[in-house]
């Protein structure tokens, strides 16, 4: 027999049976709304930021290609090679100190030539559009102007040179590509650094060169050629396609994490969908049986209810999409400076389609089993008392569920930026679902096998866990997920807070000072002691160089020949800070090899950080070749060191014996620790006066910024995770409501037989209490493990949960569950037995 009802007829009946307000399917609607809404919002936000970064690449970079070198100008040959590609613009970046009267402030000096900006425009705060500042003038970022107390037209001093403030910066076209800065920007003419003596040999400055290519060429291919032509130049080359790689990486990582949280919310929502659809169809049991009496086949039933549930799923998902789009600007605002660009109201069809697909697929996977069960409700259900739901027809379930799952996994993996993380998440979610389903079965069978208590209420409580039609399975999954989400949230939040507190190191110096000339150290000490008596000063030689080759003397590996940089060997990328010392640096400890004696004069040696040594598979006695101001030097590896990165002082991966590099021109980097609690307002102005070419970085400002960044990250994580918790709560409430419906009968009969309200409340309390207790323990383990993965594996923070607070949150969750369960049975308890009986 194959004459199943045509879809149009099935739709007519489905529409009739579906009340206008989707009564009974509200749990499905709520769950899909939350899950799809979260994914749509996240997708829209990250998609719009990534697109913005992609399309504005040329403007962000200020050209098609940018080259950067440390501590030297570009050579004639290099300039010739770049000039052949297109128009050039030169510039320089460095830290400097600016002063105006009694005020001083560290600034990020951005020296630009007349060609700047080649792409985009500099917009001043007063609305004027400007090019590079004229001779003897500067454009200041609002922060710098405020610190110096100057306005347009006032004068300031940088490196002893007088500059007139020609305007305050409103929008700087290439700000994003400049990356993290230690002070507010001051845009100055290209020749200022040299005139102010800021580019003396050894000074910490970066030369920049940007190319605007007239023809549309593939910049990546050009970069490849340049790297091959100048393998040891130490260029850091960037193209318009990856103008702000740091921001891109951050956004895509954060986006992926948020999508995973959204998916988690959807998985939780899926359980709600399953539960919601099951109770909806359970309530439709009589209707289904009646339709069968009237001649509907199983196929007809499947079509009718598939259409109904499909309609509800579509409605819930659409509502979620709308909410997702509406909430995106709010999300953008909440994340604030964490995002490289602030998205306004965006409509991203791709992200919305993906969210919709996730929603409908999850609905398909979770709604199919109850639908398959309903399909097989016998017509005889009308004539005989309630029976336990039939087992779902496995064959009918297998195909749609299998297809749905495959589609979800494919979609998630196809759009994953970090495949292993996404794969791990999917496997984890599947394992958790399987575990909770198994636990539900176990609790059921244990309750069935347990000896029957003598007290009738206790007996009833126990029986409720395993009787036919019991909601134990759904409750265990919902409670398990819900409580785990509570624990996860608490663990993540307290760990983040502790990390923020801890990452502000107790031992952080108050100031970093760069470019202190070696022969002026004593003057420097005297100035500091006068302005801040008792301040502690630590000075180390600061050089920059690039690793060119490493390995055994007989067969060294050239970095230029490497296709990929080995994992953990970040020090191979571009120029790195170098230093030399007679002693093991403070806070470091040797793990292998020996330190050179004071005044050592043998073959030049180096000590390497142990993590880097492991990543490069280095051994004591191996060689290392570096390029220092364009000169190659080869040294022997004498020792490996462990560095305590938590101490925020000078931590160098490469420390040389003084005779290896001390002859190269260089300055000192100095830290200043003020006596605790002391402020030294005179320090900055005195330093600027005494050492105009040195620059100061204030740790306090830096730490404040880092703290703000971390707390914004925690807002992002928490707001995404709250969606998962909300979904969990919806599921929980749904499961409790479904369970309540099936036990109304018992309660009424028990009331008729003389049970008091208090006794009935105790009965509920016993049942849910028992379940909650078991599941609280499970949630502690599961939520804790997930939190650990998020904190340690994904964000690479320290594992620092505040357990008393986590337990308190869990207890609140359990109390909420019990409260809801009890509140749900109150109306029933208030009713008079006779009246309740009539309503049964």
């Amino acid at each position: 027999m194959n004459d199943t009802l045509p879809w149009s007829f099935a739709w007519r009946i489905a529409k009739r049976d579906l009340s206008a307000r989707f009564r009974g399917l509200r749990l499905l609607l709520a769950c899909l709304f939350l899950g799809v809404g979260a994914i749509a919002a996240i997708g829209t936000l990250t998609g719009s930021i990534e697109r913005e970064l992609g399309t504005r690449g040329r403007e962000i970079l200020g050209g098609d290609i940018e080259a950067e070198v440390w501590q030297r100008p570009f050579t004639r040959e290099e300039i010739k090679a770049f000039a052949a590609l297109g128009r050039l613009s030169f510039g320089m970046r460095m830290q400097a100190m600016a002063s105006a009267g009694a005020n001083s402030a560290p600034v990020e000096l951005k020296a630009v030539d007349a060609a700047w900006p080649m792409v985009g425009a500099l917009i001043l705060a007063d609305g004027r559009i400007a090019r590079a500042p004229p001779q003897g003038s500067t454009f200041l970022a609002p922060g710098a102007a405020e610190r110096l107390g100057v306005r347009t037209g006032d004068s300031i001093l940088i490196g002893g040179q007088k500059l007139v403030v020609a305007g305050i910066i409103g929008e700087e076209p290439d700000r994003l590509a400049e990356g993290f800065s230690f002070g507010a920007a001051a845009i100055v003419p290209a020749d200022l650094p040299a005139r102010a003596g800021l580019t003396a040999p050894g000074a910490m400055y970066r030369s920049k060169l940007r190319v605007a290519m007239p023809n549309i060429r593939d910049p990546e291919a050009v970069v490849e050629t340049l790297n091959q032509r100048f393998p040891d130049a130490g260029f850091r080359l960037r193209t318009r396609d990856r103008a702000a790689p740091g921001a891109e990486r951050f956004v895509s990582r954060m986006g992926e994490f948020l999508v995973l949280v959204g998916l988690a919310a959807l998985v939780i929502a899926g359980i709600g969908i399953g539960g919601g659809v099951a109770s909806y169809l359970e309530a439709r049991r009589t209707s289904i049986a009646t339709l069968k009496v009237l001649g509907a086949s199983s196929g007809d039933i499947a079509r009718i209810y598939f259409l109904q549930i499909g309609m509800a799923a579509l409605a819930g998902s659409m509502a979620g999409l709308i909410a997702g789009v509406l909430v995106t600007p709010l999300l953008g605002q909440a994340l604030g400076s964490l995002l490289p660009v602030t998205p306004g109201f965006v409509f991203d069809p791709g992200a919305l389609l993906r969210a919709m697909a996730y929603g409908l697929l999850v609905a398909l996977v979770f709604a199919t089993p109850p639908l398959a069960r309903a399909r097989d409700f016998p017509a005889m259900a009308l004539m005989r008392a309630r029976v336990a739901p039939l087992a779902a027809n496995v064959r009918a379930v297998l195909l749609p569920v299998g297809l749905g799952l495959t589609a979800i996994v494919t979609l998630a993996l196809a759009s994953a930026a970090q495949l292993p993380v996404t794969a791990l998440f999917l496997a984890g979610a599947a394992a958790m679902l399987a575990f909770l389903a198994g636990l539900g079965k176990l609790i059921r069978s244990l309750a069935a096998k347990a000896p029957r208590p003598r007290r009738p209420l206790l007996r009833a409580a126990l029986a409720n866990l395993h009787r036919p039609g019991a909601q134990t399975g759904a409750l265990v999954t919902a409670l398990g997920f819900g409580l785990s989400a509570f624990v996860l949230l608490a663990v993540v939040q307290t760990s983040l807070e502790a990390n923020i507190a801890r990452r502000v190191p107790a031992r952080a110096p108050d100031y970093f000072v760069l470019d202190v000339p070696r022969d002026r150290l004593e003057d420097f000490r005297a100035v500091v002691q006068r302005a801040a008596p008792g301040a502690e000063i630590r000075a180390v030689p600061a050089l920059r160089g690039m690793i060119l080759a490493y390995g055994p003397a007989t067969g060294m590996t050239r970095v230029a020949d490497l296709k990929d940089v080995p994992e953990g060997a970040w020090a191979l990328r571009g120029e790195r800070g170098l230093t030399y010392s007679d002693e093991v640096p403070e806070g470091n400890s040797l793990t292998e090899g020996k330190w050179w004696p004071r005044g050592y004069s043998g073959p030049p040696l180096v000590s390497i950080e142990d993590g880097l040594a492991k990543a490069l598979d280095l051994h004591i006695g191996d060689r290392l070749t570096i390029s220092l101001l364009g000169v190659e030097r080869t040294v022997t590896i004498a020792s490996f060191r462990r560095i305590d990165w938590e101490s925020m002082g000078f931590n160098y991966a490469l420390v040389f014996s003084p005779n290896a590099i001390a002859d190269a021109p260089h300055n000192l980097a100095v830290t200043i620790d003020l006596p605790s609690g002391r402020k030294a307002s005179a320090l900055l102005p005195s330093l600027v006066r005494a050492l105009p070419s040195s620059s100061v970085i204030e740790t306090g400002t830096l730490l404040r910024e880092a703290r703000a960044l971390l707390s914004q990250m925690s807002i992002a994580i928490l707001s995404a995770a709250s969606v998962a918790v909300l979904a969990g709560l919806a599921v929980l409430f749904g499961a409790i409501a479904a369970a309540r419906a099936s036990r109304t009968y018992d309660n009424v009969i028990l009331r008729v037989l003389g049970a008091s309200r208090r006794q009935l409340l105790l009965l509920q309390l016993g049942e849910y209490g028992l379940l909650s207790l078991v599941l609280a323990l499970v949630a502690l383990a599961l939520g804790g493990a997930m939190g650990w993965a998020v904190i340690v594996q994904l964000f690479e923070f320290d594992w620092l949960p505040d357990w008393p607070r986590v337990l308190a949150v869990l207890a609140t969750g359990v109390a909420l569950v019990l409260g809801f369960a009890l509140a749900g049975s109150l109306p029933l308890l208030r009713a008079k037995p006779a009246q309740a009986l009539r309503e049964l």
């Binding site: 027999m1 004459d3 009802l5 045509p6 007829f9 007519r12 009946i13 009739r16 049976d17 579906l18 009340s19 009589t286 209707s287 049986a289 009646t290 339709l291 069968k292 009496v293 009237l294 001649g295 509907a296 086949s297 199983s298 196929g299 007809d300 097989d376 016998p378 017509a379 005889m380 009308l382 004539m383």
Partner: protein, 216 residues
């Protein structure tokens, strides 16, 4: 033969039933509670499959059909009226009556349902929901629903069981009148001897077996 349950809990509900009902006959199944009347009706109407034995309805061997096959076989051929009415609560009276026609793919289901409701005197209640109808009205909708597809066989399980005597009598009149107009076979399950006497034949069940089979 009908046995429910398995193993130790198996209960034989119907045993050795052998009955033939000619087309157009009215037959009453009489017997005390638990005698197997409703179960026999469930088997005869294809709501339940017999554990053993054969059942032929209008030339079709019901014993060979599965649940879905029975559903198809019922369409347009068998009308069933239940004691508790079992109207679909989310549908109006008109929609309730139209449903079996729609399930059978009849194009003018709406008009035919309207005509049938008018025939049972509910032309003014078309758009009312079951909850807005009295018990008697609900049962009249159920009768209209059972008859609308002009079945050759109508089963009525205690059709007046949930109604007061006056309303019940009206329903019985209506049922017999509509049957007479359509010429269908009517099987009524009842423990009301007066109602049974209105049928041409009375089969009495006791303990799952036929105790007597006589003309009324």
């Amino acid at each position: 033969m009908l046995t429910l349950g398995e193993g130790d809990s198996a209960v034989a509900i119907l045993k050795g039933i052998d009955v033939t009902v000619p087309q157009g006959q009215t037959l009453a199944l009489l017997g005390p509670s638990g005698s197997g009347k409703s179960s026999l009706m469930a088997v005869l109407s294809g709501l339940e499959r017999a554990s053993a034995g054969s059942l032929t309805v209008a030339g079709e061997d019901f014993a060979r059909l599965d649940e879905d096959g029975l559903a198809h076989a019922r369409r347009g051929r068998i009308g069933i009226i239940l004691q508790a009415f079992h109207l679909l609560p989310t549908m109006t009276a008109l929609e309730n009556v139209a449903t079996p026609l729609e399930l059978a793919g009849v194009a003018d289901a709406g008009e035919r349902a309207r005509a049938e409701l008018e025939a049972v005197g509910l032309g003014h209640r078309l758009s009312h929901y079951p909850a807005q109808l009295s018990g008697g009205e609900q049962q009249r909708v159920a009768i209209a629903r059972a008859i609308v597809s002009r079945p050759t066989l109508i089963f009525a399980d205690e059709p007046t069981g949930n109604l007061d005597a006056g309303t019940g009598a009206g329903i019985v009149e209506l049922l017999f009148a509509r049957r007479a107009e359509t010429g269908a076979t009517l099987v009524i399950i009842t423990h009301d001897p007066t109602l049974a006497e209105r049928c041409e034949r009375v089969v009495t069940l006791a303990d799952g077996r036929i105790a007597s089979d006589r003309a009324a």
